[in-house]
Amino acid sequence: MKVEVRVYPKEGVLDPQGRAIASALVRLGHSGVQDVRAGKVFFVEVAGNDPSRAESEARKMAEELLANTVIEGFDVKVVS
């Protein structure tokens, strides 16, 4: 099964990367850009065909390694 894990800076945590991208977008003429948060996506293939099991396992992976929960939040979605 394929699981998608999105990891992003938590609300309220300064994201210097997102901020720099936002100001670059404004410079490019996208003057309506107000904020950008930059994160990562992991596409994880796991064996088996139980979506809820795959999801809970991916959630554990995010907590243990993929995200640093001090500064990052995450969400998990079974894609296929």
Binding site: P9, P16, L65, N68, V70
Partner: protein, 231 residues
């Protein structure tokens, strides 16, 4: 008196630390490969700077799963002195041996230069020979040194005196312009509650002898020797 210097794939300041402990202080020193669990009877453990595991995922994130880290955690839990320098500090944060995390520098650049630090806590085995409130100059070289933690954790660190070093200007004043990476409350180094685990972004190992133009860092190593001699 024996120093163990942990070597991860990608560590690059291990020899600097060995040189300080062995050649400058005349102590026994041994490298410990990250796959080994045996700390070889060391009295002090140093996690050196570098790019453990290429800093893949996040700095320190993968190194934390090295077998040696179990031994380091057990050593720390028994009160053994552990010092994490730069990438070593990042590993201690990821391993949960110190609270908080580091983000990318606010300027989005690798910063490599000297900074000034105000010594805030001299009750750790790595800072007892410094003067409280004194200003020391040390080099930094990092991309992710922008320390952060939740406001509650930051307040707790302040209350318990766990902030060990703070960035300041040469006169010891705190100013945003003296903060090289945007770290919350200008924090450059912290200790755990017990004080035996210390981590900092600056490099005392790179300024430990006069021939390098600065020996401000040697006291961190000498402090450990003096702390152990008194035990």
């Amino acid at each position: 008196m024996k120093f163990a210097i942990v070597v991860f794939p990608g560590s690059n300041c291990d020899q600097d630390c060995y040189h300080v402990a062995h050649d400058l202080l005349g102590c026994e020193a041994e490298y410990v490969w990250h796959h080994d669990k045996d700390l070889k009877g060391a009295d002090v453990v140093i996690l050196p700077g570098g790019f453990a595991y290429g800093d893949y995922l996040r700095a320190g994130a993968l190194a934390r799963f090295s077998p040696v880290m179990e031994s380091v955690a057990a050593f720390a839990a028994k009160g053994g002195p552990v010092l994490g320098i730069c990438n070593g500090f990042q590993v201690l944060l990821e391993a949960g041996l110190l609270p908080g995390a580091v983000r990318v520098n606010r300027g989005l650049r690798y910063v490599c230069r000297d900074v000034h630090l105000k010594v805030q806590n001299v009750d750790t085995p790595f800072t007892r020979l410094y003067e409280r409130g004194g200003v020391v100059r040390m080099p930094i070289g990092h991309m992710e040194g922008n320390y952060t933690a939740s406001p509650e954790v930051l307040d707790r660190l302040e209350r318990n005196g766990q902030v060990v070093f703070r960035y300041c200007d040469p006169e010891g004043r705190f100013a945003d312009s003296a903060n090289p990476n945007g770290a919350d409350r200008a924090i450059a180094g912290i200790a755990n509650r017990e004080g035996n685990v210390v981590g900092l972004m600056p490099h005392p190992d790179r300024c430990a002898e006069a021939v390098l133009g600065n020996d401000a860092g040697i006291k961190m190593f000498e402090s450990a020797v003096s702390a152990l001699a008194e035990r």
